[in-house]
Symmetry: C2
Subunit: 247 residues, 2 copies
């Protein structure tokens, strides 16, 4: 197991039960990739992803690594896996990583994008990748509601796991809200995100943008540490893991 190989992976999450392997089903991205990599190397492969993505969530650039004694070079690995992966999963880069690199533990920053279609006019090409809200959002209210979320906080109110035993403290570096082609696009940058955190933040910001929630109340909401005070869970299909950054 001399080599440590890092992959960048793209997927359309529509058909899958998320990133993480579950039992023997092939309905997860990790299981699909491990099956192809194990066949390629002739040895069992365990992939370490940068983090789980929920069922239905997409990735433009998930990162994962695995240890192997396989002797194929990086270009050969890339060609092999892309030949055998289903059409909605692809490896977009393969590189030799240092022995200590771990896709999850070494990650320092992640970028998630959430796309809300605000136009009433449908768009069949983006449909699998947006929340089809079909109503206008007040961007200024959303920005006001987002502001208290920036920085290092206890995000328990935005954690979908009500029995979380580990720390719910995370740092959000930036939340960028923009409009583009009938969509409101929310870009989240942080050092890591709790289970459902991006989708609960999105549900909360959208409620503020619709005038259904006081945009000035996010600070109190955060302080409450109470999931019941936060907004509803935005649909999985609007979310995409855009980038995982390492030092």
């Amino acid at each position: 197991m001399g080599r440590n190989i890092a992959l960048t992976i793209q997927y359309d999450g529509t058909r899958y039960d998320g990133w993480q392997r579950q039992g023997n089903t092939q309905k997860t991205i990790q299981a699909r990739l491990e099956a192809v990599l194990s066949r390629m190397t002739g040895e069992p492969v365990e992939l370490h992803g940068s983090g789980r993505t929920d069922a239905g969530v997409h990735a433009a650039a998930q990162v994962a690594n695995f240890h192997t004694s396989c002797e194929l070079d990086c270009a050969e690995i890339m060609r092999y896996v892309n030949r055998f992966l289903p059409r909605d999963i692809a490896v977009t880069s393969v590189r030799e990583a240092g022995a200590r690199f771990h896709a999850r533990l070494s990650a320092v920053r992640k970028h998630y994008r959430y796309r809300v279609r605000t136009s009433e006019v449908p768009d069949v090409f983006s449909r699998p990748y947006v929340w089809e809200l079909g109503r206008a959002l007040d961007m200024e209210a959303m920005r006001r509601a987002a502001e208290p979320l920036l920085g290092r906080h206890d995000f328990a109110a935005f954690c979908g796991n009500r029995h979380m035993k580990k720390s719910t403290v995370r740092t959000v570096f930036d939340i960028n809200i923009s409009e583009y082609g009938g969509e409101t696009v929310i870009d989240y940058f942080g050092d890591g995100f709790l289970y459902h955190m991006v989708r609960i933040m999105t549900g909360t910001l959208v409620e503020a943008g619709l005038g259904e929630r006081d945009a000035a109340g996010t600070g109190d909401l955060l302080a409450s540490r109470d999931r019941n005070m936060a907004g509803s869970l935005a649909p999985a299909q609007g979310l995409c893991l855009m980038e995982v950054m390492y030092d």
Copy 2:
């Protein structure tokens, strides 16, 4: 049948046998739309499309019209049809047209786009909408090869119907070849296109771009009026009808 309604229609052609109704199958875009419109109006509806698109070809803005005595306003029609259409077909505008408007006969100009993925790196999100060539193309050779096609010519060499009885003369206003994000994108503008014409032109230009065909030979090829001299038929899935223009 007092009103003449014009629709702009978007579709992902992947699952369909093309635009044109064929017998009783619901596997065409036209049949799907007519079924919903007939249910809405309570009368049989015949849609006139601006032209056929082949099985697997997409449309960002196909245009079609129909006559009806239905009294719903345009916004109500749009909401109704989009509620009942499958997810890969959508109506993006509905407007009242003059009595003499006919989506095919009144069209003066059409824009088709063909996308060739030249990067070896796959992209799962664009995959259904590109020809995955995975090889670099010489854009200058493609531009030289395209030049003789501009203007009014007999395009018999680029016609997929070998028993075409009507005129094969068409005017190509412009062919624009650009690179964007790992793709070579070819935009065709013309007063109309013969059966398979855009895909045969694309096959021919790609062969020139790969160095498999003399880029200077397109004039002779056009003059030959011989389909066997032209390039192969490019895959349907890379093609999209972008716009139909009217006076």
